[in-house]
Symmetry: C2
Subunit: 91 residues, 2 copies
Amino acid sequence: MVGLLDYFRSAAGAQKGSASVAKERLQILVAHDRAARGRPSYLPKLEQEILAVIRKYVEVDTDAVSVTYEQEESHEILELNIVLPESSARS
Amino acid sequence: MVGLLDYFRSAAGAQKGSASVAKERLQILVAHDRAARGRPSYLPKLEQEILAVIRKYVEVDTDAVSVTYEQEESHEILELNIVLPESSARS
């Protein structure tokens, strides 16, 4: 999975100028390459715990979170997309 | 940042067959598009908290974690790459 950071960087760069109103967003990806299969996944549990950690720092509406979870034979991916409200930082 | 999941998927697919010994890996990416600049970042703090959450589910050696943090004007990205030991699941 080398090169993911480059991909992220270019995707962020490509968005410049495309939106006149910048929204504050947070995107979290967790990818698990599983050598041992058939074991129950902990990623769905991680999802709630990661959200709880993020809520310590910024306000997150439940409506503002979109979650994608994908499980295949050898890997699984959890994706969280969060649109943050303006002035979302906790003091 | 649409399409990141597709990228992840193809990268994972491309690795099939390239390694005879599959290692168990966990990769976490946190990307923050910042509308309001100049505010202190909480991503470095998130890093430790996310690791603490993951350690509830799997054993993680400090040596096995590689961290990349990149901050630019309008976005910042935190990347954690973790190589999990065999039989890493906590009972």
